[in-house]
């Protein structure tokens, strides 16, 4: 038997008995996973052969796209479009704050006025979250016509659902101490929310808001593809006109925009984190 300098003995690891049931369950799970993947593969018509056949098309596409068309009459509209996209994302986020806050308070145990309101608020949030913003955009484009406005509306609707849910969860996880203290001093529900919950949670709630802003700017790009204004609209246009060099310019501008927003939001969130 070997020993270390400190006098600890090497002890053989005793055999671990695996129970046959664990093995059977593990095997079954593995088999099931395999089967669903085979089904998925077949249904989506995955095929390496098609990909290889398409390689020529890809090469053509790339040769047309590179170099990107950086002339002023492409780049300037592109930058303008990117700004519109940014404004859509910004308004879509900001305008959803009051609705998200009200619904979050109604959908958090502890601040909800009663079980009926709680369930109703939860249901509404789930619905808004379940309908993708692109679907909202298609609906609003039909209703109010092409342009950035339906894009803002679409973002507000979907974002209220997502942000309301995130905020409600943050409110539920808050330290119950200060609310208890204020309730015992006779404060009402809204007073407790305003003076105990929200002030304690400001950094978390703002962090989630910035995260949503980041996501919404990216979504508003996709909304542009379905006609809701911004640079997405330009990308769509250049694809339809087979101007792939212009498309690449737009995509590069988008890249810069998204990286900038992402950096900014990360920076602010880090500051919030250190202030908390």
């Amino acid at each position: 038997m070997t020993m270390t300098d400190t006098g600890v003995r090497w002890v053989p690891v005793p055999p671990r008995r695996r129970r046959p049931r664990t093995l059977a369950v593990g095997g079954a799970v593995l088999a099931a996973l395999l089967i669903v993947h085979v089904i998925a593969w077949r249904t989506t018509e995955m095929s390496f052969a098609t990909l290889l056949d398409g390689a020529d098309g890809m090469a053509d596409f790339l040769s047309e796209a590179i170099p990107p068309d950086l002339s002023a009459d492409v780049l300037l509209p592109s930058l303008e479009g990117a700004l519109v996209t940014l404004w859509i994302g910004l308004l879509g986020t900001t305008l959803s704050i009051p609705f998200a806050l009200l619904l979050a308070l109604a959908a958090a145990r502890g601040t909800a006025p009663g079980p009926v309101v709680y369930q109703a608020a939860r249901g509404l949030l789930s619905f808004l979250r379940a309908v993708p913003d692109v679907v909202f955009a298609l609906i609003f484009v039909t209703a109010v016509g092409l342009g950035p406005f339906p894009g803002v509306l679409a973002l507000v609707f979907h974002n209220v659902g997502v942000m309301g849910k995130l905020w409600a969860e943050t409110i539920e996880d808050a330290d119950p101490g200060p609310p208890t203290a204020l309730r015992s001093a006779g404060a009402g529900r809204l007073q407790v929310a305003a003076h105990a919950l929200l002030p304690s949670l400001t950094p978390q709630l703002t962090g989630l808001l910035l995260y949503r802003f980041d996501v919404n700017v990216r979504s508003s790009l996709v909304l542009g593809l379905v006609g809701a204004g911004g640079i997405g609209f330009l990308i769509n246009q250049s694809i339809q006109l087979f101007r792939f060099d212009e498309m690449l310019t737009h995509i590069l501008v988008v890249l810069v925009l998204i990286v900038a927003v992402d950096r900014l939001s990360a920076l602010v969130r880090r500051h919030l984190g250190s202030a908390a």
Partner: protein, 243 residues
């Protein structure tokens, strides 16, 4: 001032308080002592009207100043203090007045009426922290925070103050200071103060009277300095002797 009569609290079919009577006079600091699980917190919650809100059942009567207890009659001070650390000391104290403010003058701190702010400053001065009014509550030491919590309770204008282990999370010097403050408030402002304590030594020094609980019954009621050793299991007593 505070009269608890026949407090009987049940959780499920387990009775935790078996008809406890406790009375605290205006101008008196009463210390409640007892081993873990003897029912001290439950008694305090019953006095505050909170037993029953957590699945317990409570019979018995609580009277304040001869009348049945109204919601704002008693103020609470907690072991874990429960201030909002990110807000200023002054805003935290003002929050004690929320129960009597309408929503339109209390939805955000900026709306608090001048009178409330000045009263809160007075409460802060009472606990010796007027110079910290604009600091973030979280920047204060534990003992200072507990004094701010006492100021918040004062701002509620309750005549009865209930404190569950108000000094258990504090270092010895801060504990002495907070208890000294509670005793002084009882004596000079004629408040009725009931404090659950875990250190018989502190109770002997600051309380006017001590009540001992064991298994949900009052087994001891006497002036400060009464020997309370019998309340604690034997091996705990050695520890208490050391502290």
């Amino acid at each position: 001032m505070l009269q608890v009569t026949g407090a009987r609290v049940r959780y499920g079919d387990r009775e935790v308080l078996h008809g406890v009577d406790v009375e605290v006079a205006a101008g008196e600091l009463l210390a409640v002592l007892g081993a873990n699980g003897s029912g001290k917190s439950t008694l305090l919650r019953a006095a505050a009207g909170l037993a029953g809100s957590d699945g317990g059942e409570n019979d018995g009567e609580v009277r304040v100043d001869g009348r049945e207890r109204a919601p704002l009659d008693v103020a609470l001070v907690f072991q874990r203090i429960h201030l909002v650390p990110r807000r200023t000391v002054l805003d935290n104290v003002c929050a004690g007045a929320l129960g009597r403010l309408p929503l339109r003058s209390s939805l955000v701190a900026a709306l608090f009426p001048r009178a409330v702010r000045e009263e809160a400053m007075g409460c802060l001065e009472r606990v010796g922290l007027a110079d910290r009014a604009h600091d973030r509550a979280g920047a204060l030491s534990g003992g200072q925070q507990q004094r701010v919590a006492v100021a918040r309770a004062l701002c509620q204008r309750a005549r009865v103050l209930l404190a569950d282990e108000p000094v258990s999370a504090l270092d010895p010097a801060a504990a002495e200071q907070v208890l000294g403050l509670l005793a002084e408030l009882a004596h000079t402002e004629r408040l009725a103060v009931l404090a659950v304590l875990h250190q018989p030594g502190l109770a002997a020094r600051y309380a006017d009277r001590v009540v001992g609980l064991r298994e949900g019954r009052v087994v001891l009621d006497g002036p400060a300095g009464t020997d309370v050793g019998s309340l604690y299991p034997a091996d705990d007593r050695d520890l208490e002797a050391v502290s």
